[in-house]
């Protein structure tokens, strides 16, 4: 009983923080109302869902968290001015890959899944590596003076189509062949043996 209270309390606190922080930042003047707040919200959801993906015990819940993460990411794409990519993100990642992953999870479930260790023995080293990596990237990005940076651009779909089917038609076709090969390979790899157990 007290444990579930703790969980509920923690969740409520987290939600409160997630909502309150952007509002507070707007009030402080760091964020502008509109694009900035939305961006911040989407970023929060994305990072939060990502953390849930890598830390939750139940793997199906991890998959669901991943879907949420992809969704938030699509939102950020829209804010960045690439609506087609956002649509593709939703279609492909959420619509295909996530479903595929959920199917695979269901096919490889073991009975003792909830009780076994979540993390490997080297998780401490992994954590340190990840933090160091994030710091390095942050430092690199912060200390670089990006040339040719202007205001945010909105990519028009027809301009994108023009570029895609004129300059990048070859990669486009090759990618479709690649997808075909991948699908055939996947089907073959996962095929059940003749007369084998189900």
């Amino acid at each position: 009983m007290p444990r579930s209270l703790l969980t509920i309390g923690a969740t409520l606190a987290l939600i409160g923080l997630a909502v309150g922080l952007p509002i507070g930042l707007v009030v402080l003047g760091v964020l502008r109302w509109g694009d900035d707040v939305l961006f911040f919200l989407f970023a929060e959801v994305m990072i939060g869902a990502g953390l849930l993906v890598v830390t939750m015990r139940d793997i199906i819940r991890c998959g669901l968290a991943m879907i949420v993460c992809f969704g938030a990411l699509a939102g950020i794409y829209v804010i960045a001015g690439a609506p087609l990519v956002a649509a593709a993100q939703v279609l492909i990642y959420i619509g295909a890959i996530s479903v595929l992953i959920l199917f695979a999870i269901m096919l490889t479930q073991t009975k003792d899944a909830p009780t076994s260790l979540v993390f490997q023995t080297q998780s401490l080293g992994a954590g340190i590596a990840a933090i160091v990596l994030a710091v390095i990237i942050g430092l690199t990005v912060g200390s670089t003076d990006w040339p040719d940076v202007g205001a945010r651009i909105h990519t028009a779909t027809d301009h994108l189509a023009e570029v895609l089917f004129n300059e990048y038609v070859l990669p486009f076709e090759i990618v479709s062949v690649l997808l075909l090969a991948a699908v055939i390979g996947g089907v073959f790899l996962a095929k059940r043996e003749e007369g084998g157990p189900p």
């Binding site: 490997q120 080297q122 080293g125 992994a126 590596a129 160091v132 990596l133 390095i136 430092l139 690199t140 200390s143």
Partner: protein, 678 residues
């Protein structure tokens, strides 16, 4: 005969002179080489076909040795009569080691000293060979014995004739080898095998010194030729790299080993395990004299280091009295003679030490014949009582083996120094010279040793030949005189024992032996400032002669008193009870003498036990530390290898972590390095 010799002499002299000028060849050179090579041929042939010849196996070795003796007599005559010139005659054989700086030429060299040694070696050798035909007649290893004897003759002749230190050393070792083979001739007897090993090992100790001495000579002079190196060593004014005294000491170490002086004397009594002809030839007349010969040959080196000479004299005379004291209580007839040999060798070294080189060589010559005679006679005695060597089980043999008795008596009288037999002249000369050159202590101890010598020799005669027979009752009826092939050599040796002394030493102070050897030792005598005073028969010399004769007489008298006498008209029965009471009154001395002053036990303790412990410790070190280090390297490599292999877990995520860490390190270092101001 004389005309032939007289006719031959100029021819020989001319040939020798011609030969000496040419350096090689010449008749004398050829004869000398033959003297050396014939026994070698005898050895090879006998070793090859001796087993098949069996009882006839003695023909070739004995024939070869007789031939060698004849040639040696010719060569010696040429040398001693001055036919070879003042510097002797050199025969170059071949260049043995042509190695640039270190060139060794093997060659032979004959001078008066060599001639004297040749006489002893070949004569006694020939007679021992003939004697062995009878003595070893029943032995299954008959052919082997003669092969070894020939090998020994070759080695000894090579030693005496060699003119290069390295060849001398090779011959030295070969002689040791022959001695080992002959002492252990009856190899199935464990005592014989042990004795031969002991002889070889103790000899080896001395040989180390000898080898170091030869190396020192080479370091100092750059040549190993005997005469050239000695001239170079003494001649130059500059200080040699290694002091001459050290060189002399090292050479003396070799002599101590080979001639069984204290402290390396322990092998000679045990060497009596060999057959009696071996004892006669090797351990009485020839091999043990090699040490004396060495010091005599190297006399310039020793003369340049007078301190070492005093040491030599001290060692010699100490050995003499030590051995004499032990001989007084020994019960084995051959052991008594062995200790007597040690004692007489001590006399020779004492003589060399005081500077009386000629006297030492003269004593060597006389002793060679005398001791050879005594040993062969004792062999005859042993043969007569069917291989019994303990004197307590002999006695009363005088009438039964007359030839043996009379020859042995002659030998005993000679060795005690009764004039006019051989050893009297030589021993007296040694004692006289030591007194006159100022070594009074050597003289005093020498006189004491003379008393003891006389005593134990007549103890031996008394126990063996006089008194009642204590022989075992089975053996008694079968006592018989030895065959002529054994008795003949006995009488042939008795002749020089009687006359050689007088022939060579008279007139006093001016005899032939002095004329022969004086030139060789002239340089040494000058270096030591030894004045050769005129012989004064009615002055100091006469007194000294009287003293030594008196000493011998006292010893004989005491011996007769205790052990009886049956000589000519003198009759006295032995008194064993007096002997027992006397020895009871001096228990420590008696036991010390009987136990050889416990030297064997001391060496056993020092070298076998303590040395064994040291060897064990070193073995532990080798096992644990040296091997341990090597093993540790291997173990370390293996262990670290297996521990490092644990990185290979087979899990993808572990490898991926490694990749991530590597990436981070690279990125971080790039960041840091690129961020630095250039």
């Amino acid at each position: 005969m004389n005309e032939t010799l007289a006719a031959a002499l100029p021819v020989l002299a001319a040939a020798a002179e011609g030969g000496a000028e040419a350096g090689t060849g010449g008749l004398i050179g050829l004869l000398t080489a033959l003297v050396l090579v014939l026994p070698l041929i005898g050895f090879v042939v006998t070793a090859a076909v001796g087993r098949r010849l069996d009882r006839e196996a003695h023909l070739i070795p004995v024939g070869v040795v007789v031939l060698s003796w004849a040639l040696a007599m010719v060569v010696s005559y040429a040398a001693l009569s001055g036919g070879l010139g003042a510097d002797g005659h050199r025969v170059e054989l071949y260049e043995w080691i042509p190695a640039g700086d270190f060139t060794v030429t093997a060659g032979l060299f004959v001078d008066q000293l060599t001639a004297v040694l040749l006489i002893v070696v070949t004569t006694v050798g020939m007679l021992v060979h003939v004697y062995s035909i009878g003595y070893m007649a029943h032995d299954p290893g008959y052919w082997r014995f003669f092969a070894y004897l020939n090998l020994f003759m070759f080695s000894m002749l090579l030693l005496v004739l060699a003119d290069n230190w390295l060849v001398v050393f090779v011959a030295w070792e070969l002689v040791g080898l022959s001695s080992y083979l002959l002492i252990g001739f009856w190899y199935r007897r464990s005592s014989a095998a042990l004795a031969s090993k002991k002889a070889f090992i103790v000899n080896r100790v001395g040989d180390v010194g000898f080898a170091l001495g030869i190396i020192a000579i080479w370091v100092n002079t750059g040549t190993l030729d005997v005469r050239a190196s000695m001239a170079s060593l003494i001649g130059e004014g500059g200080a040699p790299v290694i002091p001459v005294a050290v060189v002399a000491l090292l050479l003396f170490a070799g002599a101590v080993g080979k001639s069984a002086q204290f402290p390396l004397h322990v092998w000679l009594p045990d060497a009596m395990e060999g057959p009696t002809p071996v004892s006669a030839l090797i351990h009485a007349a020839t091999m043990v004299n090699a040490g004396v010969y060495l010091v005599a040959r190297a006399n310039p080196i020793f003369a340049a280091a007078p301190g070492v000479l005093v040491f030599v004299a001290a060692t010699g005379i100490f050995t003499a009295i030590l051995a004499a004291s032990i001989a007084m209580t020994q019960t084995d007839i051959k052991r008594v003679l062995a200790y007597s040999t040690l004692s007489q060798l001590g006399y020779m070294f004492a003589a060399l030490g005081v500077g009386a080189f000629t006297a030492a060589i003269f004593h060597l010559l006389a002793q060679g014949f005398t001791k050879g005679l005594l040993f062969l006679a004792s062999g005859s005695v042993i043969h007569a009582v069917h291989d019994e060597q303990d004197m307590r089980r002999m006695g009363g043999l005088r009438k039964k083996i007359p030839h043996t008795y009379w020859t042995m008596l002659i030998g005993a009288l000679a060795i005690t120094g009764i004039p006019p037999l051989a050893a009297f002249f030589s021993k007296d000369e040694i004692l006289a010279e030591s007194f006159k050159f100022g070594f009074g202590w050597v003289w005093a101890i020498g006189v004491l040793v003379a008393v003891l010598t006389a005593f134990y020799m007549f103890r031996l005669i008394g126990l063996t030949f006089w008194g009642e027979s204590r022989v075992d009752s089975h053996v008694e009826p079968r006592i018989h005189e030895s065959p002529p092939v054994m008795v003949g050599p006995l009488w042939l040796l008795a002749i020089p024992t009687i006359v050689l002394g007088a022939a060579l030493a008279l007139p006093f102070g001016d005899g032939p032996i002095i004329h022969w050897l004086e030139p060789i030792f002239a340089g040494a005598a000058e270096a030591l400032h030894l004045a050769h005073a005129e012989f004064a028969l009615f002055g100091i010399d006469g007194v000294l002669i009287l003293v030594s004769v008196a000493a011998a007489a006292i010893g004989i008298a005491v011996g007769w008193w205790l052990f009886g006498v049956e000589l000519l008209a003198l009759r006295r029965r032995p008194r064993p009870e007096t002997v027992r009471s006397l020895s009871a009154r001096l228990p420590f001395l008696y036991r010390a003498s009987l136990n050889k002053w416990w030297f064997d036990e001391l060496y056993d303790l020092l070298f076998i036990r303590i040395g064994g412990r040291v060897a064990d410790a070193i073995w532990w070190f080798d096992r644990e530390v040296v091997d341990g280090t090597v093993n540790a390297v291997g173990t370390l490599t293996r262990g670290s290898g297996s521990r490092l292999a644990r990185v290979q877990t087979g899990r993808v995520q572990n490898y991926a972590l490694g990749i991530a860490l590597g990436l981070i390190v690279m990125a971080a270092s790039y960041l840091i390095l690129a961020g630095r101001p250039a």
